[in-house]
């Protein structure tokens, strides 16, 4: 791989695609800071980086879903500035996404030809026979012997992916991007995919391969590009990298965030004064399992503890929290709260017992966007203000509760209580969700990505609230993809990978590389 600025003559001869100085910011936060690299024609480039490094944004720009703020893309020697996904398709770029983009209610052939059905002349009627015959050819190329009129919903994850690839081949794609293609595949399906990838390489198709599974990247790719915080921090031929080098490149950013000081557990002043025994088991999770999601998860959350849950996307962190809060089913496992076994998990009963859960989807699951700030704050605790037989609301106590919690979460003073939450900034919205739960005075608080999309100032305030709550004897479980955040905030970090708990580190042993290796599932091979 050549740096983009190198000898022009040489690079234009064999480069298919080049990014030059791509920049992109969301709401003032730069997620891409001048990304430049080239992809040689017929080559296979691995793109690696932590969650939030900017891989997805870069790929969305390539696919026409987003437009860069600055920088240019060159495709086959000419400029390429896609305004929508159709532009990308027209130029022969295809995506195989992490979450497959097929319509389960349509047939295989219909999915492949969705945007350009072969028609009988000028009539609006689809030429089914011709379409299905072409589909059979394409399916044979990807090694699928399935009738093309089968509905996609009857296919396995691996088969669906092959259909996606057949769709890519149907547009004569010259560049195919794989985004975490193996996350939902079995081992056999993965082998089949890799065999197909080598056949496509032999046909001269260029590919970009994004994956957290570093072993696959080493096995498949000629070149590797490492992205960190929106910048290319390393690139070169695969043989010049080792796993250790790659991991340290991925994590090696300097600490730029501020965290409130965290005294280690058990050294936090007079326990008797605090009125609780720090470290007493609060939430005990034993053998929680759900096929395909979680396998035998056991851990204990203690009083006064801030427990982090680390892992890559799809490792099962959010799923674990959702199951613990009774939002998703589980097939096995028991949960104890304060030593008492919980017979049934449901949000209502858990809230009654003092468990709170801030979900990762602030807008779709946390807030009633068109309702007022006041109504959102009091949604969880509403019954406390209506204790008469008719459940008549006590206006004064509601109002004082809203005023109290506004001060606690430091909600922007310019906002009014009757303003729809929709009109608030992301940080203030999150403070409303957090305040809603804090009004309940939870004993166990589960937070899923509590600072996603929130500026540094509001983050710090949310961290402080988390510490305050823990200092008052609650247990806090924090899920975050931001490793800095977990290391700055937590007393202990659990690491998940593939639906299991793979590591457990107390604060004294926090180590970015160890956490990332555990999360990547490369613990064994990397251990000395």
């Amino acid at each position: 791989m050549q740096p983009a600025t190198n000898n022009q003559l040489q690079t234009t001869n064999n480069e298919l695609l080049s990014f030059r100085g791509i920049e992109k910011a969301f709401f003032g936060v730069k997620v891409l800071k001048g990304v430049s690299f080239t992809v040689p024609a017929g080559g296979m480039v691995g793109l690696v980086g932590e969650n939030g490094a900017g891989k997805s944004t870069l790929m969305n720009i390539l696919g026409g879903d987003l437009q860069p703020d600055a920088g240019t893309i060159t495709l086959e020697g000419s400029g390429y500035a896609p305004l929508n996904p159709q532009d990308a398709t027209r130029r022969g770029i295809a995506f195989i996404h992490q979450e497959l983009n097929l319509f389960p209610n349509l047939s295989i052939a219909e999915n492949i030809f969705l945007t350009r059905f072969p028609r009988a002349g000028v009539t609006p009627f689809i030429q089914r026979g011709g379409m299905n015959r072409r589909a059979v050819d394409l399916l044979r190329e990807v090694g699928l012997e399935i009738p093309p009129d089968r509905l996609v919903e009857t296919l396995s994850a691996g088969e669906r992916q092959l259909v996606e690839i057949a769709k890519a081949l149907s547009i004569d794609a010259r560049l195919i991007l794989f985004d975490e293609p193996t996350t939902s595949l079995s081992e056999r399906e993965t082998d089949r995919l890799f065999a197909l990838i080598s056949r496509m390489r032999a046909r001269g198709i260029t590919m970009i391969y994004i994956s957290h599974t570093l072993a696959d990247v080493f096995r498949l790719c000629d070149d590797i590009v490492v992205l960190r915080d929106g910048e290319v921090v390393g690139s070169g031929a695969t043989k010049t990298f080792t796993t250790e080098k790659l991991v340290s490149m991925m994590v090696g950013r300097t600490v730029s965030q501020l965290f409130p000081e965290r005294r280690s557990l058990g050294k936090r002043g007079d326990e008797a004064e605090a009125g609780f025994a720090t470290g007493a088991p609060l939430l005990e999770v034993n053998g929680v399992s759900q096929p395909g999601v979680l396998r035998d998860i056991s851990f204990t959350l203690r009083r006064g503890e801030v427990l982090g849950l680390s892992g890559l996307m799809g490792a099962g962190r959010s799923e674990l929290a959702r199951i613990l809060f009774g939002l998703d089913p589980r097939t096995a496992g028991e949960v104890r709260l304060n030593g008492e076994q919980l017979p049934r998990l449901s949000p209502r009963e858990l809230i009654e017992r003092g468990v709170a859960f801030l979900t990762e989807n602030r807008r779709s699951e946390g807030l009633c966007l068109d309702a007022s700030v006041g109504d959102n704050f009091t949604l969880v605790t509403l019954p406390q203000h209506g204790r008469t037989p008719l459940r008549w609301l006590a206006g004064a106590s509601l109002k004082s509760a809203v005023e109290r919690i506004r001060a606690v979460v430091k909600l922007d003073a310019k906002t009014s209580d009757s303003q729809p939450v929709r009109t608030l900034s992301g940080g203030n919205q999150q403070k409303v969700v957090l305040g809603k739960w804090l009004l309940r005075q939870p004993r166990v608080l589960m937070l899923d990505e509590p600072t996603r999309g929130i500026d540094v100032g509001a983050r710090f305030e949310i961290y402080q609230l988390i510490h305050q709550l823990a200092d008052q004897g609650a247990g806090v479980l924090v899920i975050s993809s931001d490793m800095e955040e977990l290391m700055g905030l937590c007393d202990r970090i659990l690491v998940m990978c593939g639906g299991t708990l793979v590591d457990d580190l107390p604060r004294a042993q926090f180590d970015r590389e160890r956490i990332l290796r555990a999360a990547l599932g490369t613990n064994q091979e990397a251990a000395p």
Binding site: C368, D370, H385, R391, L393, G395, V402
Partner: protein, 326 residues
């Protein structure tokens, strides 16, 4: 949607568009319509006609109140007119003949039947997670057919005088309607139930995660709708002195139309009893005036359709203004 907790905010009184954004727009339009048509429409402003309007308005408003509760929760109830018909014939059957039950028993039975059928609607919708539209459409057809089968398509006459008074003495109907409207209003604004209903309509997932008993509350809204339909059935049956299996058949679209014209959202989370009152008033006055102008039934229906569409457009424009000005 802000009640006692949030009163430190005055609505846009200084906004030049205040009158347009005001929730009293519906009432203002009704008055405007009335004043505009009165000079041309013979008999519109007579006290006889106003009483006539009121008599027609009350049962419509009662059903629309129930519909408002259901629509705030994000649902719809198409079965209300069938509940009106079924409770009408069941009540009439009970109260007539040699073994007729006392009026009070008949009325309470009608109300309980209406509430029960509504609760059944709600239970099917929430437990089986089916769309409200299809469930209440099915129960509309089923209950309507059942009412006709029960009476072999015959109307039932000979209702007791004490029952007829409920629909024919205006002060009684008026008092019943006002009490119901006030109760519904206060329940929506000032009780846990009411706040939960709005929350469910705005975001059922967030409400569930926040510990709101979503299924129970939604089901209660349908039960309330069934109850309201039954109460309207009491007034209509008494007024017509007939237990009829096709009672109220033609008013379903008026009810939904009036509720939406008032400003209650078909998508849930937004609505007020006062708004619904304005909507019912507007549609009733319009209908009455067009009738007095001796327009054909077709042109009246055409006009009402246009007006409902206009109201929907107006509401969309207004909500855009509200979002922009806040």
């Amino acid at each position: 949607m802000t009640a006692a907790a949030t009163t430190n905010h005055k609505p846009q009184t200084k906004n030049p568009l205040g009158w347009f954004l005001s929730e009293y727009l519906g009432l203002g339009l009704t008055v405007l319509l009335f004043l505009a048509l009165a000079p041309f429409t013979p008999g519109l402003a007579t006290s006889n006609n106003l009483l006539n309007i009121l008599g027609y308005l009350l049962p419509l408003l009662i059903v629309a109140i129930g519909m408002t509760l259901v629509m705030i929760s994000g649902g719809i109830d198409l079965s209300v007119t069938s509940i009106i018909a079924l409770t009408s014939v069941v009540g009439a059957k009970l109260m007539t003949g040699d073994a007729g039950v006392p009026t009070i028993v008949g009325v309470l039975t009608m109300l309980a039947l209406g509430a029960g059928l509504g609760a059944l609607n709600g239970a099917v919708i929430t437990l089986l997670r089916l769309p409200a539209f299809i469930v209440t459409l099915a129960s509309m057809m089923f209950l309507s057919g059942f009412a006709i089968w029960l009476t072999q398509s015959k109307s039932i006459y000979g209702l007791p005088g004490s029952f007829l008074a409920l629909g024919q003495r205006l002060p009684i109907s008026l008092a019943l309607t006002v009490v119901l409207a006030l109760a519904a209003h206060l329940m929506l604004r000032r009780t846990v139930f009411g706040r939960w209903l709005y929350a469910i309509g705005q975001n059922a997932t967030a409400a569930h995660i926040s510990g709101v008993p979503v299924r129970a509350i939604s089901t209660a809204a349908y039960a309330a709708s069934g109850f309201c339909a039954a109460l309207a059935s009491v007034l209509l049956t008494a007024r017509l002195e007939t237990g009829s299996p096709v009672l109220g058949r033609e008013i379903l679209l008026d009810i939904i139309g009036a509720t939406v014209v008032g400003g209650t959202s078909l998508f849930g989370g937004k609505g007020k009893i006062a708004w619904t009152f304005f909507g019912v008033l507007f549609l009733t006055v319009l209908d009455n005036a067009l009738n007095l102008l001796s327009l054909s039934q077709f042109s009246i229906t055409i006009t009402k359709g246009a007006v409902i569409l206009f109201a929907a457009v107006l509401d969309a424009v207004r909500s855009r203004f509200v979002v922009r000005s806040s």
